[in-house]
Subunit: 151 residues, 2 copies
DNA sequence: ATTATTCTAAGAATCATTCTAAAAAGTGTC
DNA sequence: GACACTTTTTAGAATGATTCTTAGAATAAT
């Protein structure tokens, strides 16, 4: 697949994402997501913004790209209940807080030194691959909350 | 079931579930779920078993009942990614472990004394209503998983 | 007993997502 | 640069879990 002799050919941004081919569409989708990451956009929302930057792109392609990027570990899926899957370019371990009032999703970091899996009494022999923490609640004053997490 | 001493009107099992009317269908759905709770059945799976006990029941009614019971806090929803919602009669705080190998869902209890929400640095002023923890991995306990480990 | 309210049943509708088939783009080879 | 080959994109159809709708049944209130 990826022949790495010397690379005077086309610059391969693909190497950043586990050897997958970095097409223009994937680039656009990734950039849109990185830009909108705080909003945790759905596939449709990514599509809207991606289309502004590349009018020819299709929804199916956005789905394909999001799946490929997720598979390569470049982005993460966020599922809150059974609502449309949202996507997130934040790769740090974090939880998601869904405000039932303003309908927004916020990233919640770990307390320093905390280990999210150690509090669960997992049976011996089982191997954890992924952990998704979704917290529902009310964020209080929504504008304030948004400010607090804008960083 | 409900052994009230003096009750002029009809006995209300409803009082057990936050004042909602305990119809026969809701009763059946709840009992099915309590019986199958370890399996974390989907609505369709609940429907199959409920239909054995009450052949006239419809899928839409099972959905309605599950929603009502969830709303009253008698049962809980379990969502793993965007797969069909599963239901669970275990009301203790617990996480769900989804084995990607054997496709089963297990309840995972908290380590004693642990507090699931204290490890997250939640912004001040926000109120947590619910917390869903989904862990993906390989359970290593089922025959299939043990076989895969050996291989 | 009569009326009002809530619940159930069956099927249609919805909507996010996946699939399909064909065209397009990229890759490697001469 | 033209050729065969693989991967990706596109557009629309298909899928499947869930929700909606409407009429009729059951239950509660008057």
């Amino acid at each position: 697949m990826a022949s790495e002799t010397t690379e005077p050919t086309s610059a391969k941004a693909s190497e950043d994402f586990g050897g997958l081919r970095m097409t223009k569409q994937r680039q656009v989708v990734y950039e849109v997501l990185a830009d909108l990451s705080h909003d945790h956009p759905t596939a449709s929302e990514v599509f809207v913004t991606a289309k502004e930057r590349m009018p020819s792109i299709s929804l199916a392609t956005v789905y394909n790209c999001l799946e490929t990027l997720t598979g390569s570990g470049a982005i993460r899926q966020v599922n809150i209940d059974r609502e449309a899957t949202r996507y997130c370019a934040n790769l740090q371990p974090h939880a998601h807080f869904y405000c039932t009032d303003c309908d927004k999703v916020f990233d919640i970091g770990l307390e320093r030194g905390a280990d999210a899996s150690s509090i669960w009494s997992l049976p011996p022999g089982c191997r954890v691959e992924e952990m998704h923490v979704a917290i529902r609640g009310v964020c209080g004053t929504c504008p304030k909350c948004r400010q607090d997490h804008a960083a």
